[in-house]
Symmetry: C2
Subunit: 820 residues, 2 copies
């Protein structure tokens, strides 16, 4: 039993409020190596290993002036047990024995203890400085020797995860400060966890999840006993299944040769170190054991240092290497500025963790406001769940081909799709790989349906003559975007993407309507109606609205504007006669994404769908961007109060973790491919059709997003997200002088900057200085020319969104100033 | 200590040879529930739980006539420890106490023991039958109480994994036999593992990997001690990371409320059962403990039964449900016969595990000879490694957007690609999602390069006028296939896929050459030269070869045939003049996949590349099918001894686990997109470009396939796979009367069946009866009309391939007979 010295006592108790709102996780400094010490079980010797590394750092013959930081974030059984104190005392003993010439200065602090501890026990303090320093710190301590979550519940000092992380972040800052001026390798910090890798922290969150935002490199203390191979491997797997990098495994020898299977499992990629047996007779205070283990701990320390240096070098080199060999999409490489390549070390929920050089090098969080290019949905908890799901599914299925086969993930996914986004109209699920392929499939479906309905093809046979009985076109909208493969491009209006320079084969096989658009400006929602509409019928009807809800109101069907829309559409269609047929309507419901985040008047789209239906033109909704809660509802079709014959989904379908797309269709569409010849079937497919991992991710995400237990943003019967963007702030931004228009809906907040000439349009670099400032401020955005946007996930809390808005507003002020 | 009763002793020792070749894993019968009992550590009470379940099955008041099978595949510390014996004795004791009226008949056998055991100990025997039966069996036993891999090494009785599985499979067959005629729920079998989930078996393989081919549903015995939450969760994760379904967790209560965090972790999806504390005083032989736990074990048994029934129902219902809501690609739904839908329960390495109704329902292995539609590479070990990699990568990165960003998996993948398939020519990596998109990107690259080189476009500006300065075409081959999106389709010759019925927008923007093809027939490799070639120049040169190597010989460059090819190509190109330009050559090197597994004369392709190069026409290789060892070399370009300007890869790129594609290009191609405007950049991309999981899978696979340590098929400097298909057998098949031609290369063995009229071609159903027979025989194939093929992975052993060939040959004989 460890006894507490009195005297040098010091207490800095700053308990944090439990009500703290979720804060951005702090950064991990890279100025010196920091490691997490994990145990494959409790009682496997984490503290001995920590002390051993400390001794190797501070007391080796080569050491002249080193610094070692030992942090114990969560200590139970305190003060009887104090790992911090143990390390301190052991190092003092060892320093006297091993290297009496070295003056080792030590400090020891305990930051927060439970009331139970305070009542019954004294606290601890700190010493001065010296050439070699050992700093030991306990962050949170409870008296009872049980798991922290139980101790916290029983004794008080409940502490939120975010607060543990913040406190730890402050400790890291102190490491940086104290280590300033020293060589990278002369300062080492280890953070010793409590119990096993998946033991709960004080909030109940498993520690491997709790510390995940930092993703600190790990040393795993394994188990040398019977059964220890299994425990060590499983603990290692739990760590890697959370994205940790384990740089070494060390364990106490029990004569069972556990290192053999462990090394074979690690395939020599992670070193396995064997520590001598710990004597059961502790009469000499383990001093002899530490002496015998010294070379192993030196070895371990070297492994930790070299992994650290390797990581730093990789992070530093990556931008240059990427520039040399990567070809980024949608990127003019010549225009990527120095320092313009972002090194993404990892992501945790909505945040990237990026490599950044500030005062020192750090791994810093940055809110991914592109929602990783419109795909992203998971918060940190969901990401961890999806990771486990991916591991399971890959292990169970790998990949299995799809035609005429069925497997659970594909079937479950299809069922959920038809009960969700396809509810009430769709009856068939066609899987593919991305939005673009889903669109190509949709077009083939629609054209076949149209051809059958209009008697263009009656019979089928081995048709390689490639005769064309008629030319089919799509009806589509200006500013639309449906993907980058040729078929998808042909369905969009001419744009920067479609010129000869980009795609010499593009011809634009569509009749492209110019739709009325909706946006907020100066605190008001307006509808902008392009030329070509017959305005006189309007008789002064208002096209300004005080709220977005009014825009979506079904009652507008009876407005004069509905008639204006209807006659515009009829008129355009009647102008278009001849050998060509309009074989499909294709449109993005409500929001046109890549075209510049334009909101189309939902009334116009509803009228358009009705006009097509009356002409037996199949209707395709491109919901690749809008689907799965992007706009605050599971399917944007709900917003325009009508259903398609065919719809395409992708991106958020899998929660944004893995590519998968799907084309849903009615049974009438499906039936137009049924016959007695294979050649009448839809002969389009991709090798990974309905791949198990994609389908499993979709199943988990579809359920997760709509379940109020897992998604706190779900309101009223799971059909709506609560408002994520603060209306007041949005209105303020809409009145900002730098702003042309604002569109907010669901997870989207888009803003068009006022710009003219070459400053406007997709090719413009106008927004760059603004975005650079925002990146410094922790928000990662990417513009569509002079249109910028914030995109969050369906589970992101409104508090986070508000912080983003506030930052945007602040930077807009500066941007506006800079401009003038 | 457990003491052995003498008397009723019986020994059936049938040690298997270690040299047994790898056999097909046996089937898992579904006639009655079978469960694996796993422990989160050693000594957590697996045997108590097994006995408890046995008691609940055999001794409850409702029981009239039940059967319980207890199997202990691996027992160490034997005979002092015998879990089998413990269960037997405990049940005898309990039956006397609890339900004396029930006559419980018991049997106990030990199949194989190590020589050490034999020397020093007697063995065990068996009793008769009765209305309620308990059958306990130990499969392999060693004397020393250490891990089986150590015991096996020290005592002998080394036993291969495949043999353990076979023996276990035989035991399952016995369960079926003995249970015949009983209700599903009246027979229960549990298989108790040894130690923890990841404890090694006798060969050193971790048990969770060893038993994986059966994928038996699992019960996990957790740990109620301090640290036990962590150990239980980690063990659970190791099981799910291997594709197991855990139906329940049970653990001994130690008063630490471990069930709270465990239930929260399981999200109420897996029941957690708490067993009463086990008394340390064992004076009453735990009888009281079993009595107190009875209701919990009854509960556990019910959970196991209902999970079993749920699984059976799902497996039975899936084909019908799939028919109702799935739309399969390339499938005429009306032609899918009853029973034609394959339920794939999982895959393990090269085998599907499918649901099959034979005498009884089983999960049976079936060799996936489509290599899951050309994507597949991993053996079972690699699949498990990839699963862990997927879990890690999803946890670390989720997905992060790519433009102007860099992350480790993408960069590492790009580097490996340029050092591997792009070596010597490529310098840039463009990621996309599938072969089709990779081709569309390649075409855009090639056309730009051509346009720049030929002065078609000089300057760039916001080009939305969509003027076309010229019309660009591709030079391509008849029977080619490059994907199903419109751009990829336009680059292929007219076929069943391209008619108005399939794609009304197809026009065929290519000049399509008819290439000479190579195949084996009647024991000889032949070249078939189509019409239009100027034969007279040949002067009788032989176009038959005794081996495939001769076909690939570079020396053929000097043959007359090279001149014939060259003048054919020049002549065709000169005929094609006017307003159109040939802007790119695109071709699948060596093997045309979807077009019917045709082998193109490599000499022709080399000549063609040279002709294009001399005319400054960019060359695209479509290696989506042929790349990454599909043809026995990492890139098929090696086989034709020339390099492209642009190449596309997909499918096997990720080892076949997840969709990812890549287009590689030379720096000259890249440079044609460099300028001062974003509009000159390549504006093509997909949201999941370079997604982390795909890149990580590719990194692992690229390294795995070419490393002789992980791929036993790698020969000479890692540049070639050894011959996988037995030459003698291939030649026999090529001489079979039912066969038109054979092509074998690398992992491919394709066979065209002799057929005429409507029996030939893509739409033909001619091969169906043959394939049905082969499926019954354990080989899953899917035809391309009358062309069928066997496709294995780069790591598949030649022994396995030979078995496939032998089966094919046998079925061909029958097929031929059936025809006549």
């Amino acid at each position: 039993m460890f006894r507490f010295p009195s005297g040098l006592l010091y207490c800095r108790l700053h308990r944090r409020k439990l009500s703290t709102t979720p804060s951005r996780p702090p950064s991990l400094p890279l100025s010196h190596p920091i490691y997490l010490i994990w145990g494959s079980n409790t009682g496997v010797g984490k503290t001995l290993v920590s002390a051993g590394i400390a001794a190797a750092s501070l007391l080796s013959s080569a050491t002249t002036s080193s610094q070692f930081h030992y942090l114990k974030p969560l200590q139970t059984g305190f003060p009887a047990d104090s790992d911090s104190r143990f390390v301190l005392n052991k190092l003092r003993q060892l320093s006297v024995l091993r290297n009496p010439s070295v003056h080792l200065s030590t400090s020891h602090r305990v930051l927060n203890v439970s009331p139970a501890v305070l009542e019954t026990n004294p606290l601890v303090g700190e010493e001065g400085r010296g050439p070699s320093e050992l700093h030991c710190k306990t962050l949170y301590a409870w008296e009872e020797a049980v798991s922290p979550h139980l101790a916290a519940e029983r004794e008080g000092l409940a502490v939120k995860d975010s607060v543990v992380l913040e406190t730890l972040g402050e400790c890291f800052e102190e490491v940086v400060e104290r280590g300033a001026g020293r060589e990278r390798s002369d300062v080492l910090c280890v953070v010793e966890t409590a119990g096993g890798v998946a033991s709960p922290g004080p909030s109940g969150t498993l520690q491997c999840d709790l510390y995940r935002p930092f993703r600190i490199p790990a040393v795993l203390v394994g188990d040398g006993r019977l059964g220890g191979i299994s425990g060590t491997i499983s603990a290692y797997e739990s760590l890697t299944l959370r994205g940790y990098d384990v740089v070494a495994v060390a364990f106490e020898d029990h004569g069972l040769l556990n290192e053999g299977p462990l090394m074979s499992y690690m395939r020599n990629k992670v070193p396995v170190l064997v520590l001598p047996p710990i004597p059961r007779d502790l009469s000499n205070d383990l001093i002899e054991w530490f002496e015998n283990s010294h070379h192993i701990f030196s070895n371990l320390k070297e492994i930790m240092l070299s992994a650290y240096f390797e990581r730093i070098k990789k992070l530093q080199d990556m931008p240059r290497e990427a520039r040399d060999i990567i070809w980024w999409p949608f990127t003019q490489h010549q225009l990527v500025p120095d320092g313009g390549v972002t090194v993404i070390d990892s992501r945790c929920g909505e945040n990237f963790s990026i490599f950044k050089v500030q005062k020192t090098e750090v791994i810093a969080p940055q809110f991914d406001a592109c929602a990783s290019w419109w795909t992203q949905g998971p918060d940190a908890i969901m990401q961890a769940e999806l990771a486990r799901e991916m591991g399971y599914t890959a292990a169970r299925f790998g990949h299995v081909m799809f035609p005429e086969n069925v497997h659970e993930p594909a079937l479950n996914c299809a069922e959920l799709l038809l009960q969700g986004v396809g509810k009430g109209w769709a009856s068939r699920t066609y899987f593919s790989d991305n939005g673009s392929t889903a669109i190509e499939i949709a077009l083939k479906m629609a054209f076949r349906k149209f051809s059958v309905d209009h008697g263009i093809i009656v019979d089928c046979h081995e048709d390689t003559t490639n005769e064309r009985p008629t030319e089919l076109m799509v009806l589509a909208l200006q500013r639309s975007y449906h993907g980058d493969t040729l078929g998808a491009m042909e369905a969009q209006a001419p744009s920067s993407y479609t010129g000869f320079l980009q795609q010499p084969w593009y011809t634009g096989r569509g009749l492209f309507l110019d739709p009325p658009s909706v946006f907020m400006h100066n605190n008001t929602w307006n509808i902008s109606i392009p030329e070509g509409y017959n305005w006189e019928n309007l008789k002064g009807e208002s096209i300004a609205f005080s709220s977005c809800d009014e825009v979506f109101h079904k009652g507008r069907d009876k407005s004069e504007l509905a008639t204006v829309y209807s006659s515009y559409i009829s008129e355009v269609l009647s102008r278009f006669k001849g050998s060509k047929n309009v074989g499909a309507l294709i449109m993005e419901p409500v929001i046109q994404g890549a075209g510049g985040m334009h909101m189309v008047d939902p009334l116009f789209q509803r009228v358009l769908v009705n006009e097509c239906r009356s002409r037996k033109i199949p209707v395709i909704f491109d919901e690749v961007f809008t689907g799965f809660w992007r706009l605050g509802v599971e399917t944007a079709a709900e917003l325009i109060h009508c259903v398609p014959d065919i719809a395409c989904f992708g991106k958020l379908l899998t929660g944004g973790i893995i590519p998968l797309a799907v084309t849903l269709a009615t049974s009438a569409v499906f039936d137009s491919f049924i016959g007695d010849s294979k050649l009448k079937a839809l002969l389009h497919g991709h090798s990974y059709s309905a791949h198990a991992m994609g389908c499993a991710a979709a199943v988990k995400s579809i359920q997760w997003f709509k379940d109020p237990c897992s998604n706190p943003n779900i309101t009223s019967e799971g059909r709506l997200l609560r408002e994520l963007w603060d209306d007041k702030m949005v209105r303020r931004i809409s009145s900002h002088p730098a702003i042309q228009r604002v569109v907010t809906l669901g997870t989207l907040c888009a803003v068009e900057l006022k710009a003219e000439g070459t400053s406007a349009g997709y090719g413009s670099l106008y927004a760059r200085p603004l975005l650079e400032k925002l990146r410094e401020d922790g928000i990662y955005m990417r513009p569509l020319g002079n249109v910028i946007y914030l995109l969050c996930g369906p589970c992101t809390s409104p508090e986070v969104c508000n912080k983003l808005l506030a930052k945007l507003h602040r930077q807009l002020d500066e941007f506006d100033g800079y401009k003038n």
